[in-house]
């Protein structure tokens, strides 16, 4: 007998719908927290004097900053799943412009795809989320594709 799909019509209706934009004001303190959490001593993330002399002309954010629960990747979209447990499946970030303190990054996510699979622990739902990150000048600084697995 064919088992019913866990992807409901309601979930299908969400596909491609842009979620509520989330706004991240990029601040030096937050960049520092991120660098400390990574234990990444690169002076480009923290040392203004040093960073001024580089081609960036000042502190920039490490790549991980946008890969962040506060900056998008699924914020503002209604993720529906019949399961309670969730894990991150993967992330893909494309970077176009540096992100600097003082930037105001607006990110908009949408659910691009739902896939269901049979795993070791039973049925699993893969949700693919696409996000676009723009700065205060409307320039796209990055895009991302993230996979969330619920089971």
């Amino acid at each position: 007998m064919q088992q019913a799909s866990i992807i409901t019509d309601e979930m299908k209706e969400q596909l491609g719908v842009e979620g509520t934009p989330t706004i991240l004001e990029v601040e030096k303190g937050h960049i520092r927290m991120m660098a400390e959490a990574l234990d990444d001593p690169n002076p480009l993330w923290q040392d203004e004097e040093y960073a001024k002399k580089t081609r960036y002309g000042g502190i920039v954010a490490p790549p991980a900053l946008l890969c962040n629960a506060r900056a998008g990747t699924g914020r503002g979209v209604q993720m529906k799943s019949p399961f309670l447990r969730a894990l991150a499946g993967g992330d893909e970030l494309q970077y176009y412009l540096p992100v600097r303190p003082g930037d105001v990054i607006t990110s908009v996510s949408k659910i691009a795809e739902y896939n269901e699979r049979e795993g070791r622990m039973g049925k699993m739902l893969f949700t693919i989320i696409d996000t676009t990150y723009k700065n205060q000048r409307g320039e796209v600084v990055a895009t991302s594709r993230s996979t969330s697995i619920s089971y």
């Binding site: 690169n42 490490p62 991980a64 894990l87 993967g90 970030l93």
Partner: protein
Amino acid sequence: MAKQLYYEDVEVGIEIPPLVKCPTTRQLVQWAGASGDYYELHYDKDFAQAQGFPNVLVHGKLKFGLLGQMLTDWIGEGGILRKLSCSYRGTDFPGEEIVCKGRVANKYVKDGEHIVECEIWTENPSGEKTTPGNATVILPSRAQDKKEA
């Protein structure tokens, strides 16, 4: 800062200098604060055990960040990270070593950009690739530098 890496310095097959990390529970709590990801799986042992894991897990995105560090260290300030992608295939636990590694898979010039594509991954103490992925970086070229000078 390390000396600048140039397009001419890399060949297909060469290895990216590995980055060795050993996240502690403290680091996971720091990451939760920095990333805003407060999922209990990463700091509440009872919660993690109820989900069938022996201990709290290292955040996938923290491993993404560590791979990012390996790359930004390697390409230096003159390099640009264009793409970073990875899948969270295996679990890693605090107190265990995570080695970030990578290898050049392809290099080419396109639209005047000197592009290098890499395979990247994290390895656990058993040598399993828990976070395989790939990255694209743009490196400065010695030839271009000379022309501009």
